[in-house]
């Protein structure tokens, strides 16, 4: 039986159920946090054991390849860090739903893991909905007006996006007669008869459905409001894991499903190129005037999705491994930033940037970590964010004579614009005067997750080979 192939997902499901059951019995909810975090080791180990395989499971529904394993490890790492850093926040703000929080995060991660591995459209959709449902609920967990509104916005807009996605999938199914991604590619390249507008329409609708997930413009409208209203750990999770999963699926669908005939390749390469340019520009421009740190990070995330889309537009293997490297680095930096925000807002109870004034004097280590993460997001050496941008832009310059040079120049200029708002936050923290002089305490697990994030950002900036070799190996998709 193919138990081994689906063991990471199975063990994840078991872990989630265990947490739900324990929630009924156990009084001290902190044990649930520990169980969830420690329990993640099991799916992690099982996922690592699948490295190097290149086969399909469950009749072609799931792919077991380096690509899927890389993303599974990424999601598990992100989930672990979010769980580790969120205990104080959950304890103080969501008193009666603590057990449910951990269970839902685990279930959402399960959905994302399935998304990265799925090779068949219906499975992709089901996985998307699984993780989405959990996140819709999680967004509304604070039960205040903003949180409920954000949950509602998320579910409604998410529903529309899912509908668009399904519509696109139906069209493609109708044209090719199969929902299996490999089968789709064969059907398209088999005859020129499928070179018709309907296929392009289906492709565009599918792209639109996932563009919602990654926050590409103009499907990004939900992001700032949902990010602002949701509990900050959920926002952190959304901003990295959900986005990474979106990219994983886009890469798989477009390389495996629509990868084959040259003309199709060029079509969606251009589509993503334009999407990238619009996304990064809109994201950066709108971030400049933000005064709320969570909204600013939301718009910054939109711009980062734009840079990542450059890697998709490159439409080559270097682009894939570039995206995977960038996603990891972006996850580390963004998580670091959000966890620092969690710690600080735990104390000062505010998400306004102006209240971060003089943080360097009140909580120097937190301020420095947040600054390092923001510098990584800007893409300045010697942080890993610079290497991430380097590999993605490198990949974009490969095809043709100058490749997508216009896009790369566009993206580098955008990075300059982005520096303005990232450094605005840094400036407020370092140069401003503190409102009050109490320190900002934080728990041990939160500090540990911050150390991991910052160390990752700095080490990978100086010695990126550590991650690059895995990213290169992971750009292997089962056809």
């Amino acid at each position: 039986m193919e138990w081994h192939s689906i063991s990471p997902e199975l063990s994840m499901a078991v872990l989630a159920i265990v947490v739900i059951l324990l929630d009924l019995i156990v009084e001290d909810k902190k044990k649930l946090a520990v169980v969830s975090a420690v329990g993640l080791i099991v799916p992690l180990a099982l996922a690592v054991s699948l490295w190097g395989e290149e086969k399909t499971a469950m009749n072609g529904m799931l792919a077991v390849d380096n690509f899927a394993v890389f993303f599974k490890i990424l999601f598990l790492g992100i989930t672990a860090m979010v769980i580790m850093s969120s205990w104080e926040y959950i304890n103080s703000k969501i008193e009666n739903l603590r057990g449910e929080f951990y269970a839902l995060i685990l279930l959402s991660a399960l959905g994302l893991m399935l998304m990265a591995a799925a090779r068949e459209m219906i499975t992709i959709y089901v996985a998307l909905e699984l993780s989405g449902m959990a996140l819709y609920a999680l967004a509304a967990f604070l039960k205040d007006k903003k949180s409920t509104e954000s949950g509602l916005k998320y579910i409604i807009l998410g529903g529309v996006a899912s509908a668009t996605l399904i519509y696109g999938m139906i069209i493609v199914f109708g044209l090719t007669g199969t929902t299996d991604l490999g089968g789709i590619r064969e059907a398209i390249s088999a005859g020129d008869g499928l070179r018709e507008p309907a296929l392009i329409l289906g492709m565009v609708l599918i792209a639109a459905g996932f563009a919602f997930k990654i926050g590409a413009v103009p499907f990004h409208m939900w992001m700032p409001d949902v990010y602002e209203g949701a509990p900050t750990p959920v926002t952190a999770y959304l901003s990295v894991a959900s986005k990474a999963a979106g990219f994983a699926v886009i890469l798989r669908i477009f390389f495996t499903g629509f990868g084959s005939p040259e003309w199709l390749f060029d079509d969606w390469s251009v589509l993503f190129g334009v999407l990238a340019a619009i996304t990064m520009t809109a994201g950066n421009v709108m971030a400049i005037q933000q005064t709320n740190i969570k909204r600013l990070l939301a718009y910054s995330g939109i711009a980062q999705a734009g840079y990542l889309l450059v890697g998709v537009a490159a439409a080559n293997t270097a682009g894939q491994s570039g995206i995977m490297f960038y996603l990891t680095v972006y996850s580390l930096a963004n998580l670091g930033a959000f966890i620092a925000v969690i710690a600080i807002s735990n104390k000062i109870n505010s998400d306004e940037i102006a209240d971060y004034s003089g943080m360097i004097k009140k909580a120097p280590v937190l301020a420095i970590i947040l600054a390092v993460c923001l510098i990584s997001l800007t893409g300045i050496p010697p942080t890993a964010g610079f290497i991430g941008k380097l590999v993605v832009f490198k990949a974009a310059l490969e095809p043709g004579e100058t490749g997508l040079l216009w896009l790369v120049i566009f993206a580098t200029v955008n990075s300059v614009v982005a520096a303005f708002y990232y450094f605005k936050v840094i400036k407020v923290m370092f140069v401003g005067e503190p409102r009050s002089m109490e320190g900002v305490p934080s728990g041990a697990s939160l500090k540990a997750s911050l150390v991991i994030a910052t160390a990752g950002v700095l080490i990978l900036g100086i010695y990126p080979y550590l991650l690059m070799k895995y990213a290169d190996l992971a750009a292997v998709l089962v056809p």
């Binding site: 050496p381 490198k394 310059l397 100058t402 120049i409 300059v416 400036k427």
Partner: protein, 516 residues
């Protein structure tokens, strides 16, 4: 001795000493005075080692020396490649020298001392790295690293409103430089791909044992179409032109220089803007035909910079801003010298980089001395300081004379070489006109320098300055060392020009560009 230095990787040692110093300053729990002493210690040792390296440098060999070449990121063939030649060795020495002096200039900082010296040392590390990096990616990374310490130095310890706008100037500096770097990165990447991603090296290096030449990126670029060469040339040189700065991308400089703390201004004007000039020198041969074709444009903008800069300087009433604008003017000569594409004028431009670094470093240090005592930077409110501060007055005058190119000072040596070389150039039919306009710039320089010195130090002494002391022992140490350097370069310029000359001849691609 050279083999010994190469074996122990002297360049990396010198390069990373400030970083270790910065880490020590960040974590050691000692008094502020102790922190300053640690900073002085580390920069002092760095300077000492740099002098030793410079003495050990083989003057007659124009190629790269003290080479360190290790694989860094194998998958993209990026290397940790360091080396010095005649172009970079003087500037490297200058960086360590000014870095050492800046610690003493900053001795009176009282606010957030620990962070200040951490940033100062990291800044020095980054600038030194730019001068010795021979791998494009490494070069770019060092180029970018200096942004962050400079941003913090200006925005935290700079001049507060209403006299200055430190936060505005810091952000302006950041954005301008990042924009330039965007061009540099794009240019490097395009060149890298045209070379099929085989190397990031900035120069061809001949293996001394086998005699085999390991090609660098510029050699690959030379084989591309003229359109591609033009693209790469302008993308890369845009960055250097913003840094130098060249008119019309110079508007960041007056704000950044004026609002930075004194040591920040010394580092900025002394070495940071030399990075732009150095980049131009190093990569002059990257697209020889393009350089030849568009030299007229860069010379024109250079001369406009000289004259416009000088004219703007004449209007300044803030002492620091005046010197900042004078930097714009003097960097125009560098452009004239480089793009006249004559061996003599390029050597003069390289010497001008060195000379201007010392001279402007001294000028800003003097402004710091005057401001520390009088708390007044506005020229109309100064006056007659020669009575209260004779030493400061004399040194300021010497610095001013060097700035306007009085013979026996380094300024004269550099400018003379530039003008001699450019007058003989045939890169554009208007060369004689440009050269003469450049010389007119000298006259304007004399105008604002003499006017400034007269207004600030002569005329009637003011009673409110009567209680002021002259330069302290520490300040005298700093300013006398700088005066000595100016004199030494001015009286024996051949010590440096020989180095520069040999290296220019050794770089094949540059030799191809230059005339006689």
């Amino acid at each position: 001795m050279n083999e010994f230095f190469e074996d122990i990787n002297i360049l990396s040692i010198i390069l990373f000493l400030p970083v270790i110093g910065a880490i020590m300053i960040a974590i050691l729990q000692i008094t502020d005075k102790g922190l300053k002493q640690v900073a002085a210690l580390f920069t002092g040792v760095t300077f000492l080692l740099a002098i030793l390296m410079f003495i050990g440098f083989e003057k007659s060999d124009g190629g790269l020396q003290f080479i360190e070449r290790y694989t860094w990121i194998d998958s993209i063939k990026a290397e940790y490649f360091l080396g010095v030649d005649g172009l970079s060795a003087p500037l490297f020495l200058l960086t360590t020298f000014l870095g050492f002096l800046c610690v003493f200039i900053s001795w009176n900082i009282k606010d957030r001392v620990r962070e200040y010296f951490v940033w100062l040392l990291i800044l020095q590390f980054s600038i030194m790295g730019v001068f010795v990096a021979q791998d494009f990616l490494l070069f770019f990374i060092f180029w970018e690293i200096e942004l962050i310490p400079m941003y913090f130095l200006i925005s935290i310890w700079g001049t507060k409103p209403p006299l200055g706008r430190r936060e505005y100037s810091a952000v302006k500096y950041l954005l301008y430089t990042l924009l330039g770097s965007a061009g540099l990165l794009a240019g490097i990447l395009v060149a890298y791909f045209q070379a099929d991603g085989s190397t990031w090296a900035m120069m061809d290096v001949t293996n001394p044992e086998t005699g085999q030449i390991i090609k660098g990126l510029p050699s690959y670029v030379a084989g591309l179409t003229i359109g591609m060469q033009t693209l790469i040339f302008f993308l890369i040189f845009f960055c250097f032109c913003v840094k130098l700065p060249m008119f019309p991308f110079h508007t960041w400089l007056p704000d950044a220089h004026t609002d930075a703390p004194t040591a920040g201004s010394v580092m900025l004007a002394g070495v940071l803007i030399k990075m732009g000039g150095y980049g131009m020198l190093r990569l002059l041969g990257i697209a020889p035909d393009v350089a030849d074709k568009y030299a007229w444009l860069l010379i024109l903008l250079g001369i406009i910079g000289v004259l416009y800069g000088a004219a703007a300087t004449l209007r300044q009433t803030d002492l620091k801003r005046l010197i900042a604008y004078s930097s714009v003017s003097h960097m125009g000569y560098v452009l004239l010298g480089i793009f006249a594409l004559q061996q003599v004028s390029v050597t003069g431009a390289a010497l001008q980089l060195l000379s201007h670094g010392v001279v402007t470093g001294l000028l800003f240090a003097m402004v710091g001395v005057v401001y520390d005592k009088t708390h007044e930077r506005r020229i109309p409110y100064l006056g007659g300081l020669a009575k209260q501060m004779p030493i400061a007055c004399v040194v300021f005058t010497i610095a001013g004379m060097a700035s306007l190119g009085l013979p026996l000072t380094s300024g004269f040596a550099a400018e003379f070489l530039i003008f001699t070389g450019s007058y003989n150039s045939d890169v554009t039919p208007w060369m004689h006109v440009y050269t003469i306009l450049g010389i007119v710039g000298i006259v304007l320089t004399a105008g604002y320098i003499l006017w400034m010195i007269q207004r600030a130090f002569y005329h009637e002494p003011k009673s409110q300055f009567d209680h002021l002391s002259d330069a302290t022992v520490m300040e005298r140490f700093v300013i006398f060392s700088l005066v000595a350097s100016i004199m030494w370069i001015g009286i024996r310029p051949h010590y440096f020009t020989d180095l520069i000359d040999n290296s220019l001849s050794a770089i094949e691609s540059i030799k191809g560009v230059l005339g006689s």
